[in-house]
């Protein structure tokens, strides 16, 4: 083990020394990258290169080896190119460290202290000034950079960039991959326009669809009138240049509506047809009452981003990349309930936790969310009772359940019809200390919970409290100008407003690098900022469920009650 470390240390030094000599006396050693890999099919080269770039695994399947910070050995399975240069290869910006692009297009160009065509755009200028100038790479100098850390000027680059112990053949594969990475701009972008679409599942309440569309179309219209004045007024054009550069400044946006009809099994063909007819750069929002998975799959397979569709049932995955969701959906409320109860479990004195689940999609998702998180706490499994669809829970049945199990806590994953059954519970001997229900499942009826239940009943509430949301009203007013606010579902409207904000912020930060993966990379690097509706949204690199939190609340006293917080936004 120790021997190995020494050995690879020596190999690295050897390369460093050799390169140094080469720059002194002769051309760089061509053998470093001139390795012939033509025995491999092009697709295979890309697959093997991508495996190094994304997973840190050599073509042999073994972890890549490298040195960071000068003398710290590391393995590719801990982190690899993608951890710093990101999916698109356009690089990252974090903690004052700028990681430069590593896509072939940019590597094989000379780097100047400015970006051509964008000399007067402050953000481009600042960006360009982070990196020292260098000539264009060649295959040879690129191989040298990756293995020795010397760039073509002979500068030893920051030690944050690992020095990789790659043999000549694997280096050649890596380089071939970098050349293919973020090579051509993604489809849906032309000189004058960026095309977007939004997916609408037929059957969703038209008012809900209208609330989803309004902020998006508002954003697009604003962008397009900006692009128009850009054409006509040099002064305004200069102002736009300062913010977004001449390229984005002049572009118009379009938003197509992709309406999906019929059974979810048939959506894929419809999506393919829409896309064939008009390739878009990305999907924005979208709305469905039920299924979303076929859209998710479509995006994954065609590598098309979808920013924040409105669905209660997102696809849960640790590895999928292209769809960014608001949250883990309605099940997140069940998960939050489990964490909340876990934090006070010591008080339960061994009494049971009972979970009553309405058969149907919402109830099942809530029940599943609770069950899965609860299982990780090591406490005894909850007692589970399933209510058949369409049959309201009676007071009598609830009384029996409580008498039989004497739970410390009772979870009621049911709609508002359950409220009537709860009326007698506060007076029942041996009743649970708390009952938890889902505010989303109860819907508007949650505001009509009777006074006598308000001490006992807790609600999962996955949003900022309404009384603290007022500061966003001004922003929303712009969207609602000339409209009657009560015509629009406020939650849907606010979510869609977030999509518009996120889109405009990220496009500005993309500096004209119109790659779909870069859009998602940029969203991942977005500074934490405050948005409507959700107490916190986090778009960390690679994170796919922006809101991780949920409050546990109770309804306060009186005729015009407010929600009162009983937990933090996130409990671990």
């Amino acid at each position: 083990m120790r021997e190995n470390v020494l050995l690879s240390n020596r190999i690295t030094l050897w390369r460093v020394a050799l390169l140094f000599l080469a720059t002194l006396f002769v051309q760089p050693p061509g053998s470093l990258a001139a390795q012939d890999i033509s025995d491999l099919a092009p697709a295979e080269i890309i697959r093997l290169g991508e495996q190094m770039y994304l997973k840190g695994l050599l073509p042999s399947g073994k972890p890549m080896q490298a040195y960071v910070s000068g003398d710290i050995p590391m393995e590719g399975t801990s982190f690899t190119c993608v951890s710093c240069h990101l999916h698109s290869g356009i690089g990252s910006f974090e903690a004052n460290i700028a990681t430069p692009p590593t896509n072939g297009r940019i590597l094989y160009q000379e780097r100047k202290p400015y970006i051509k065509g964008f000399e007067n755009v402050p953000s481009y200028h600042r960006y360009a000034s982070y990196f020292p100038v260098r000539p264009a790479y060649t295959d040879e100098t690129l191989a040298a950079l990756i293995t020795t850390g010397f760039d073509p000027t002979g500068r030893s680059v920051l030690k944050v960039m690992p020095r990789y112990d790659l043999d000549d053949r694997d280096t050649a594969i890596m380089i071939a991959y970098l050349k293919s990475l973020s090579d051509q701009f993604s489809p849906g972008v032309s000189e004058n326009e960026i095309k977007f679409a939004t997916v609408i599942v037929e059957g969703v309440d038209p008012a809900a669809v209208a609330a989803m569309l309004l902020p998006l179309e508002n954003q697009i219209n604003r962008k397009n009138s900006q692009a128009l004045t850009y054409q006509s007024s040099p002064r305004l054009a200069r102002m736009a240049n300062n913010v977004m550069g001449p390229d984005l400044g002049a572009k118009k946006f379009s938003l197509a509506r992709w309406v999906l009809k019929g059974a979810p099994e048939t959506w894929r063909a419809q999506l393919d047809a829409y896309y064939r007819a008009e390739p878009v750069f990305a999907l924005l929002g979208g709305i469905s009452d039920g299924e979303w998975e076929p859209v998710h799959r479509f995006c994954e397979e065609n590598r098309i981003p979808d920013l924040l569709p409105q669905t209660d049932y997102p696809v849960l995955s640790n590895s999928d990349w292209y769809t960014l969701y608001f949250s883990r959906g309605v099940r997140q409320e069940g998960e939050a309930a489990a964490r909340y109860l876990h934090s006070m479990y010591d008080l339960f004195a061994g009494r049971a936790v009972v979970q009553v689940v309405r058969d149907g999609r919402v109830g099942k998702a809530l029940g599943e969310g609770f069950r899965e998180v609860w299982a990780t706490t090591g406490h005894p499994a909850p007692v589970e009772i399933v209510l058949p669809e369409g049959e309201a829970l009676s007071g009598e049945r609830l009384r029996q359940i409580v008498a039989e199990h004497k739970p410390a806590a009772l979870l009621l994953w049911d709609d508002a019809t359950v409220l009537a059954a709860l009326e007698g519970l506060p007076d029942q001997a041996g009743r649970p200390g708390m009952v938890i229900a889902s505010s989303s499942y109860l819907g508007k009826e949650m505001w009509n919970i009777s006074e006598s239940l308000r001490d006992l009943l807790y609600l999962t509430y996955p949003f900022r409290l309404p009384q603290e949301e007022g500061r966003f009203d001004v922003a929303l007013k712009g969207v609602l100008a000339g409209k009657n606010p009560s015509d629009y579902d406020q939650k849907i409207l606010r979510r869609s407003y977030i999509v518009g904000e996120l889109l405009s912020k990220s496009l500005v930060q993309m500096r004209g690098e119109y790659y779909r993966d870069y859009l998602l990379d940029v969203v991942g690097m977005m500074a934490d900022s405050v948005f409507p509706l959700y107490e916190r949204l986090g778009f960390g690199p690679g994170q796919r469920y922006a809101s991780k939190g949920c409050f546990i609340v109770q309804l306060g006293k009186g005729a015009n009650p407010q929600l009162e917080r009983r937990s933090e936004w996130v409990t671990q």
């Binding site: 020596r10 801990s78 982190f79 974090e94 903690a95 004052n96 500068r155 030690k159 991780k548 671990q572």
Partner: protein, 192 residues
């Protein structure tokens, strides 16, 4: 790639005054070392196993302690800081349990215990390296007490804190630091 060639080249490099650092155009900033008096907040955090941990007790257990602030999906600097921890544990060999490494997440919303576990596995962490999360309020208290409050996780800094035997005094290292340098710093405060 025989030993012989390596030697010859190294000698020539030495003769011609070769040193990678000297040839650097944009010089690498060295890390900054300061000594700080810190008082630890009395908060209960959660470790990678989902267990509650009284932060003060863990930090003041009497073992030598190194603390850093990272998060699971962070680019560039956390991988480097964590590679430094992996390296420390390797160098300590079987003694790694005598030594307490603590990573504290600055992204508690995302970094739940399963996420922390997966992260530690990726860095081949051994017992003696704990990754802590908690409520946003408690994490803020910890960041504040280290003078390392990052209102925005994308603008955090690469800090390592080493607890000294001198009551309440910590060595703060600001910047990317090599493996040998970090070990030296730890040895300097009296840890073997």
């Amino acid at each position: 790639m025989t030993k012989g060639i390596t030697l010859v080249i190294l000698c020539m490099a030495a003769i011609t005054g070769f040193s990678p650092n000297r040839s650097a155009v944009a010089a690498e900033a060295p890390y900054k070392r300061t000594v700080e008096s810190l008082s630890m907040p009395d908060v209960v955090l959660v470790n990678q196993k989902g267990e509650k941990v009284r932060f003060k007790t863990l930090v003041e257990s009497g073992k030598p302690v190194v603390v850093d602030f990272i998060y699971a999906t962070c680019t560039t600097i956390c991988p480097i800081l964590s590679a430094g921890f992996t390296n420390l544990q390797r160098k300590q060999g079987v003694d790694s349990a005598k030594f307490q490494l603590i990573s504290i997440t600055i992204d508690p919303e995302n970094d739940s215990p399963p996420v922390l576990t997966e992260y530690l596995e990726r860095y081949q962490a051994r017992p003696g390296w704990d990754f802590l999360t908690g409520s946003r309020a408690d994490i803020n208290k910890v960041m504040n007490s280290f003078g390392a409050f990052f209102p925005n996780k994308m603008s955090h800094r690469p800090y390592n804190f080493i607890r000294t035997n001198d009551q309440g005094k910590w060595v703060k290292l600001d910047g990317m630091i090599g493996g040998r340098d970090l070990l030296n710093e730890i040895e300097k405060v009296g840890v073997k």
